[in-house]
Symmetry: C2
Subunit: 336 residues, 2 copies
């Protein structure tokens, strides 16, 4: 009996927002694992803003996805066949399995996950890349001190929700910037942020003056554009800005909007530092243990926004860029 | 006998390039120093790109010069009367004496300088604020390691010439960006830079690829604008950018051009940090001693571009923004 694998492959490099025609939906038979390989049934796919960058040509922190290749994506699934000594049938695993139903792997970059501790999708969010990004970006680069004011944009997203909660755990005042009243309510009422700014209905610059009277000590930026520029107007002395992403700019058809107010770095002796989570791979275990501890103690909440159906992938991905997700956007591909 | 003091006062906040009408030229009698005061005859004035910023309204690292106030300027001069225990008639001193012929001071921020070691104008350049800026910006923020590639813009200016020479002393490969063949020749042939890029006749991005094949480890930015953006395209991993100034943007009548390529910080895990030299005041002595040692050993050359006559101040200042000076621009106000 042959199993069929369905896949989304990159058909064209998008101009602006990715369109349905930028993808091809393909099928092919699933091959049995060879020696040293394992076969994973993909259950949940991670949809991340960074995916938009991987679709572009050119030098970045990771090679672009080639035209005709299965789209790169983090995922969790179950091992259904294995000739790899490290993995057995039935193991739940996390890895870069791609936008498809089945993935063959040599085990590199694949880690087992414990579904008795947390549901599978959590391993794509708070205990996955977004959680690691938040943890290392905030703590290693932001170096928040008790009493500091920490501002995070994309605050209701997979990274932002974790950044804000960790900052609270570290004794900071936390202000989140998010789009819409629901997200703002969520981060304040459910996650315990001190304040939220709704960039869709508020003047962000003015609101930052109100909510950060002593200036921003740490700004964790996921969005770029006008919001980064607004944050630059309210820096405290020696502020640290973490450049984690710039979702407002990823679908631009015009050049990226550079931060006009960057000379605020000079005025405030502040710094702006880029981060890529992969650099911290050797320390993921340490972070996961600490965050799992916070979760077990009820101090760190995880939320996933789960959409069903591999076929919805092209549209579901766009939810990220339209700001339609709260928490980690996950695509459910199959049941166990 | 009453001495008359001539002064340039800020008459209006300039829009774009400062015009003659933005200044008023005033005269008033010189008052005798009171108890605890000294009277300085100003001999040389320091003309600095930062002065343009001080003419603007709004929050910065230092309050703006008020309308009607004598324009702020660093200067060196000779004490001609003193009721201050720390200063005697005949002492040569450096301080923020302003664009005028005579300055009364309470001694705060005034330091004696040794004309037996270096000529007075050198204390406005290599042994003054520009030298301090270069020293602390490069060493404290840039943290150059032997073998690193260091790029500096405004390379033939007061700060840039010192940055490049110190970087060479620290075992770095040094590439300077300057305007015009003469300046480029000067920094390579006279100061020992490894290469120069003439931004007026070369494609800076392309030239940086040629001269920095392993990427830029430290970029010391004095100019902002397109040159900052070009440097961002050629960063090495974990590059450090020092934001010291942005002379290309100071006379803009449109918003500052933010660096469109700032996401290169993310790709390269790089940082961009602002600096203001005043923060290092407590360590000026340390830097001055080390730099004086280098000068005495012939390892650090100082060059001043001296224009005569207080009355020329409005035009002479513009030389900075037109890129007409090589080395430290100094206005000679009077003979001893």
């Amino acid at each position: 009996m042959t199993t069929t694998n369905h896949q989304f492959r990159l058909a064209a490099r998008p101009v602006g927002m990715p369109k349905r025609e930028d993808w091809s939906y393909t099928e092919e038979p699933v091959r049995e694992p060879g020696e040293g390989e394992l076969l994973v049934k993909v259950l949940y796919l991670s949809l991340d803003p960074a995916m938009r960058g991987w679709m572009n040509e050119g030098k970045s922190y990771i090679p672009p996805v080639g035209i005709g290749e299965v789209m790169r994506a983090g995922a969790v699934g179950r091992v259904i066949a294995s000739k790899h000594p490290g993995f057995a049938v039935g193991d739940h695993v996390s890895g870069s399995f791609g936008v498809q139903e089945y993935a063959l792997s040599n085990g590199k970059g694949v880690t087992k996950v414990d579904t008795s501790f947390a549901a599978l999708p959590v391993y794509l969010g708070t205990l996955g890349m977004p959680g690691m990004t938040a943890y290392f970006g905030l703590l290693d680069i932001g170096k928040p001190q008790p009493g500091n004011t920490v501002v995070v944009s994309g605050a209701a997203g997979a990274v932002g929700t974790v950044v804000g909660q960790i900052a609270k755990l570290k004794g900071c005042r936390v202000v989140g910037i998010a789009g819409g009243a629901d997200k703002c309510r969520y981060i304040v009422d459910e996650l315990g942020f001190d304040a939220a700014i709704d960039y869709k209905s508020e003047d962000v610059k003015k609101a930052l003056r109100t909510h950060c009277p002593n200036g921003i000590d740490v700004y964790f930026d996921n969005v770029g554009g006008d919001i980064l520029d607004a944050a630059l107007t309210q820096l405290a002395m020696r502020a640290r800005i973490i450049i984690c992403g710039a979702i407002s700019q990823y679908n631009n058809t015009t050049p990226v909007k550079g931060p006009s107010n960057y000379l605020a770095l000079l005025v405030n002796r502040a710094s702006m530092t880029g981060m890529v989570v992969f650099d911290y791979a050797a320390r993921y275990g340490e972070a996961a243990r600490e965050m799992a501890g916070w979760m077990a103690a009820g101090k760190l909440k995880s939320r996933e926004d789960i959409v069903e159906g591999l076929q919805t992938f092209p549209d579901t991905l766009l939810k990220l860029f339209k700001g339609e997700n709260t928490g980690k956007l996950v695509l459910k591909v199959a049941n166990e």
